[in-house]
Symmetry: C2
Subunit: 227 residues, 2 copies
């Protein structure tokens, strides 16, 4: 049944790998979508392909979107340094409207594939303060999806599923581990090198390290300093 | 003042050219955004560049989005013929989630450019029955934009402006003509040739022809049959 297809946004990071594992565990045939948006490092996209394969996605598709042309974020503009200390407010690693664009593209694919759901690994607990990771953002996108699509008009709207939204990083890691996610192949670091080795000091690395520690699970992350 | 900047989605067609003229008339510095989404003909994008220049846009940016990879529409999949007779329901020229993606990308640029508004030339009167041209879709996107962005979080949400939404095609043509739009450089046809010559028989050509006739304005469209 086609409605058992799901589009899963897979970035190559820890959260989206867990979201993919949850979608599979809930019985969906998963179509993994990664966005090539001019992010600083390519290791993230390679990790996404590995994650999709390891977790049995039926297909992995990479779509290019020219975010670098827009700029305005440390993740797409190499002139803006990635902060290595915690900051107040919305950090410079925020990519303007990124999750809106990602969900919009997933919505297009979902409509063509006849998918019943889109899974996205946003979470609002141990997160970086991005506006488009909040539950109210997801709810607003769900309303939009109902109105924006043929599926919605025909009474079978595509659901936006956020299985991690209320979990802490430690809870996400425990959940994924129970579902067989191999976190050693995921890359969370904002400035990983070409081999996918993590810096250990950016916001994303700090959240991830603290998550493994709090979960009591050995951190399999490969760091640049060899640790 | 930066808030007097506006992003205007310019497709190369009649409606978006009119929306650009309205935004300029309302005093905005306009940044024209065209999406290269694998549409059948390139003449549309060339027309967009001409329209942006003719109407004094401060900048014209073309962003590539891989809609062809998704397929499912006669406008992006050459295996699906463009219908030459009116159809019931949502037509095959509907591109899944297109306006959601367009507005999302405009939102990203608007946030970086500090723009106060996004103009989009959708209209819900003489239109093709696409779900993402309806007023309720626009309202939902406006709610999303407030939640999705730094600007929204900081209390200065980016407005979505749809000056044509309640106008008939004839009213749009009269409005644009009064604002100095040269419709001879616009291309509305779903299957224009490389020179931008129109077929005269697709949905979009039929709506446009009827609009000029009803407005009592000579149709400057260049047709393939030389008329």
């Amino acid at each position: 049944m086609k409605r058992r297809n799901a589009i899963v946004l897979v970035s190559g990071g820890l959260d989206s790998a867990t979201a993919l594992a949850v979608a599979r565990d809930e019985g969906f045939h998963c179509y993994a979508l990664s966005l090539d948006y001019g992010q600083r490092h390519r290791a993230e996209l390679q990790a996404a392909a590995q994650v999709a394969e390891a977790l049995g996605a039926a297909e992995h598709r990479r779509m290019a979107v020219d975010f670098a042309g827009i700029g305005g974020s440390a993740l797409t503009d190499t002139r803006i340094p990635v902060p290595e200390q915690p900051s107040q407010g919305i950090p410079v690693t925020y990519v303007p409207a990124r999750n809106t664009v990602f969900l919009a593209l997933a919505l297009g694919w979902a409509e063509v594939a006849g998918a019943g759901a889109i899974y996205i690994g946003v979470n609002a607990v141990d997160y970086s303060g991005y506006p488009d990771c909040r539950p109210e953002f997801v709810t607003a996108f769900q309303s939009l999806a109902r109105l924006a699509t043929k599926a919605g008009v025909e009474g079978a709207p595509i659901r936006i599923e956020t299985p991690l939204i209320h979990l802490s990083k430690a809870e996400i890691i425990k959940l994924g581990t129970a579902l067989g996610v191999d976190y050693s192949i995921t890359v969370s670091c904002y400035q990983a090198d070409e081999q996918g080795l993590a810096c250990g000091v950016c916001d994303s690395c700090r959240l991830r390290q603290a998550g493994f520690e709090s979960a009591g699970i050995v951190d399999p992350t490969r760091y640049k300093d060899g640790s």
